[in-house]
């Protein structure tokens, strides 16, 4: 229950000394290397280019020294072994990928097998199909209370749902059900492994009971 929200140093030092202990040698090259390391981390973490002056002031270090180390950092990353660059942009320093690798990176991102990602509308529709299957498009609309048949196509394209005949009512609408791919994506052996709404409700109610509502005296 303890709060480590603000700087956790005192505690931290005793908890994981080798990882968090900051100080050791402040002299000579040790301090220099340390400042260089901090500058690298700062250039990495900030999204807006910061000037050497801004960084120096915030760190309480001499401006000349900071500027010199930043330039050295930019030089080092300039070498061909690095896919990253530290460039001067708008008077400040900023880390980014090198332009000559952008095609490679973009192709890489395209080829990545991403985790199952769905828009909220698609997720809602998938959830309705999963729990109400077989189910028709009008029934899905009815439950979701939102228009949007486009997402059905998305789900069909992604092979997460498929058709399952027609419902014998007026208009004979197509029925939809989830696929084997759906089971694979959600790590299910079969549909009976889907948590029931009741189970989910129980957890939710329990969570409310424990976290918020003060339990009445003596149960």
């Amino acid at each position: 229950m303890e709060s480590h929200e603000n700087t956790a140093l005192p505690e931290a030092a005793e908890l994981a000394p080798e990882q968090l202990a900051a100080e050791p040698d402040q002299t000579g090259t040790g301090a220099e290397a340390r400042l260089a390391a901090v500058l690298e981390a700062i250039v990495y973490i900030t999204d807006e280019p910061l000037t050497a002056d801004q960084i120096a002031v915030a760190l309480g270090e001499p401006k000349a020294r900071v500027a010199e180390l930043l330039d050295r950092l930019a030089d080092e990353y300039g070498g061909p072994r690095h896919g990253l660059a530290v460039r001067q942009v708008a008077g400040g320093y900023k880390m980014s990928t090198k332009p000559e690798h952008h095609e490679a990176i973009r192709a890489f991102v395209r080829k990545l097998q991403p985790p199952l990602k769905l828009s909220l509308a698609a997720l809602e529709t998938l959830a309705v199909v999963a729990y109400k299957q077989p189910v028709t498009a009008p029934e899905i609309l009815e439950i979701r209370g939102v228009q949007g048949v486009g997402v059905l196509k998305t789900l069909l394209d992604r092979k997460l749902i498929t058709t399952a005949g027609r419902k014998e009512v007026i208009g004979r609408p197509i029925l939809y059900r989830t696929t084997k791919e759906f089971l694979v994506q959600f790590g299910l052996k079969d549909l009976s492994e889907l948590p029931t709404l009741k189970e989910f409700e129980e957890l939710r109610r329990a969570a409310l009971g424990e976290d918020e509502a003060p339990t009445p005296a003596n149960g």
Binding site: H4, K117, E124, G187
Partner: protein
């Protein structure tokens, strides 16, 4: 003997936490717990907690009973002859095992907390977004839990949706009985419908009320049977064995129609 609890009453998550604290604070050998004094300290804690209106779960009471039981077993003299044939386990054994197991997980929790502490001091600044299509970046990585949660939210939304007053959509109780009747007729024997589902399918509050009354009427007519597996669980509707009989005579429906006009 002074109690380790005198200073202030600590809050314990459960009885195992309380027992462990008593044992560790007094540097008691956990493999040889003086069960009589620990039991009295435990009971003293419960009494103090009670007097301060502190909330103690049922598991505290259950543990008190367990402690007293162990204590009584330890007091009972054992026949030495019998002891030779089948030496009895230490009555404290099971409790000690549970305490040790619990303590191991408390330590594991502490270790996890330390790991979190380190991670809180580490920052990442991924730049993936620049390389993603806009459509992709708006999508969410989803898991099974998201699926259930989303379905729950859809249903909640459906329940809270403003009821549009659709003229002519409203149904009477007799109409609803007919609807239910045809739904149940096509249902395989022994299968049931969910009342929650049925209610959710209604488009207006009036229709929901009509459905509810229709169900009650049909129970009275002995046309349907309601069952509920768990308290607060969903209610299932299935055909009564007299289902066919009831609807064979038109009088039953007529009587209801009169009643609602």
């Amino acid at each position: 003997m002074s109690s380790p609890l005198n200073v202030h009453l600590e809050h314990y998550e459960g009885p195992l936490d309380l027992l462990l604290d008593l044992i560790r604070k007094q540097q008691i050998n956990i493999y040889d717990i003086p069960i009589a004094s620990i039991t009295s300290q435990y009971l003293e804690y419960m009494q103090q907690a009670l007097s301060l209106d502190m909330e103690l779960g049922a598991e505290f009471v259950y543990m008190a009973a367990t402690l007293i039981h162990i204590k009584s077993r330890m007091l009972l003299p054992r026949d030495p002859a019998l002891e030779d044939i089948s030496p009895e386990d230490d009555p404290r054994r099971e409790l000690v095992d549970r305490l040790l197991e619990h303590e191991r997980f408390k330590n594991a929790a502490e270790m996890l907390q330390q790991k979190l502490l380190v991670e809180e001091n580490v920052w990442s600044n991924p730049q993936m977004l620049a390389f993603l299509d806009e459509a992709e970046s708006q999508e969410l990585a989803v898991t099974l839990i998201d699926l259930v949660r989303t379905f729950q939210q859809v249903l909640d939304r459906a329940k809270n949706r403003p009821v549009y007053a659709v003229e002519g959509e409203d149904v009477s109780v007799p109409e609803m009985i007919q609807t239910l009747r045809s739904l149940l007729e096509t249902l395989p024997a022994r299968e049931s419908l969910s009342v929650v589902d049925l209610l959710e399918r209604q488009r207006s509050r009036r229709a929901m009320v009509a459905l509810f009354l229709a169900i009650l009427e049909m129970v009275k007519m002995q046309a349907i049977v309601l069952s509920q597996r768990d308290a607060f669980g969903d209610i299932a509707v299935r055909r009564h064995r007299r289902f066919g009989e009831v609807f064979a005579s038109p009088e039953a429906i007529e009587a209801i129609e009169k009643g609602y006009h």
